[in-house]
Subunit: 232 residues, 2 copies
DNA sequence: GCAAAAGTGTTCCAGATACACCCATGG
DNA sequence: CCATGGGTGTATCTGGAACACTTTTGC
């Protein structure tokens, strides 16, 4: 027990933080929740939202906590991205940071909390200079999002519960940054049999109105268990 | 500066470790370098090789250092896997661990160092119970290896510089755990034009002898830059 | 001469891609 | 009545999968 104590006791201890790359989809644009710090340190500078990992929580717990504080939302899709640990990455102190990316339905986001925390949704081309290595984190998160979205039905996490196929397609066009053929896209996604077609129509973007659909998660999970692989 | 100091000063500090999932390929089997601890704490129990992250190094630095200590090798292929941070994952103390997976050429591995560190190469089905969450780390690493190998030419990191197409195929059969058609495999890999066919033959496994090949990394990188995507 | 691994082509099928016109309706 | 986005089908191409026999040579 002495040995064991010294084994741990002699090791250095580190500040460990989480930083969250929070994606949203609004006005057919992929956006990120960016914070402008209203207090020191680094007052006025732009950054991702983040926080330190406490003694009593895992890094995922910490990220969940930070996400909830800043968005008011629970049960957010979230995935570990990468650990950033360059000794000098944080100019204030040596901090090891775990980046998580999250997908949020912008319309469910609490606007009051946004003002309170000094956060705003910015499209990818509107993002100003960020502190530390946060820009790199975003780039890595974009790659990961593309990768993940390719074979997993995570796009739905960014859309309202009910959405049109045009919305869905424009979401994937934003993610992949390329145009997708309308007919082929419909054919492919409908053939998967994981969307529930609703009676309702959305008439906000056309006179004719577009059918609304809902992602049927249960059906997807059933199919996935039988070996079905989502791909778009 | 006061504010900034307190901002960091109030945050808790953590022990941060790296654990390495080290893959090798020997006798047509995928193997892992497993350590049996010869000293306390946890004497006699099996684990991955690992160590604490020091103040002056990144987590990647730490993993590189540990790999070098245990294998004698530099310039090893290595990639961050995941951060494991459950509060109680380490029964000795709260330790946040970053897992890295690495690919090694077993025949270049220093056997003396292996004995010295109490490590051995074990096939996947020979691995005993491991401490903490190391088993889970291995499972995750296997998934990642399959994923990565699918679109990146990392298999060559596990083979000798010169190898036969049969060796290469049996490597991928091990990684994917399924048989690959001999003709289709040859067709596909040779069509990529990233292998250099040597005059030499390897006669250790057949009377006829099999041609040796070498991975042409430069050619691959040229092609990759032009948009070519390795896939096997 | 035979065992044992190396080496070699063709056919078939499924899924991806390319592509252009009619529909419904609010203004 | 017309502008606007919604909705639909077919032909072609490409890449993956299946599949069996000949070659070489050490023993």
């Amino acid at each position: 027990m002495n040995l064991q104590q010294s084994f741990y006791a002699q090791a250095p201890r580190h500040l460990v933080a989480v930083d969250c790359i929070i994606f949203g989809f609004e006005d057919s644009r992929l956006k990120l929740l960016i914070m402008q710090r209203m207090v020191d340190p680094f007052q006025g500078s732009f950054s991702l939202v983040g926080g330190f990992v406490l003694e009593s929580e895992s890094t995922a717990d910490a990220a969940t906590r930070v996400l909830q504080q800043v968005s008011g939302l629970r049960n957010i899709f979230m995935d570990q991205l990468h650990c950033y640990s360059d000794v000098n990455r944080d100019s204030g102190s040596r901090v090891i940071s775990l980046a998580y990316y999250a997908l949020i339905r912008v319309e469910e986001h609490d606007r009051k909390l946004a003002i309170q925390h000094g956060t705003q949704w910015l499209a990818l081309d509107e993002i100003p200079e960020l502190i530390f290595d946060h820009r790199k984190m975003i780039e890595d998160a974009l790659f990961r999002l593309r990768d993940k979205a390719h074979f997993h039905p995570i796009g739905f996490e960014l859309l309202p519960e009910k959405f049109t196929l045009s919305q869905l397609r424009s979401l994937y066009e934003e993610i992949y940054q390329r145009v997708l053929d309308k007919r082929n896209f419909r054919k492919k996604i409908l053939a998967m049999n994981i969307l529930e077609k609703l009676e309702e129509k959305d008439k906000t973007t056309s006179k004719k109105g577009a059918h609304l659909y809902r992602f049927d998660k249960q059906k997807y999970e059933q199919l996935a268990q039988k070996g079905f692989v989502f791909e778009i």
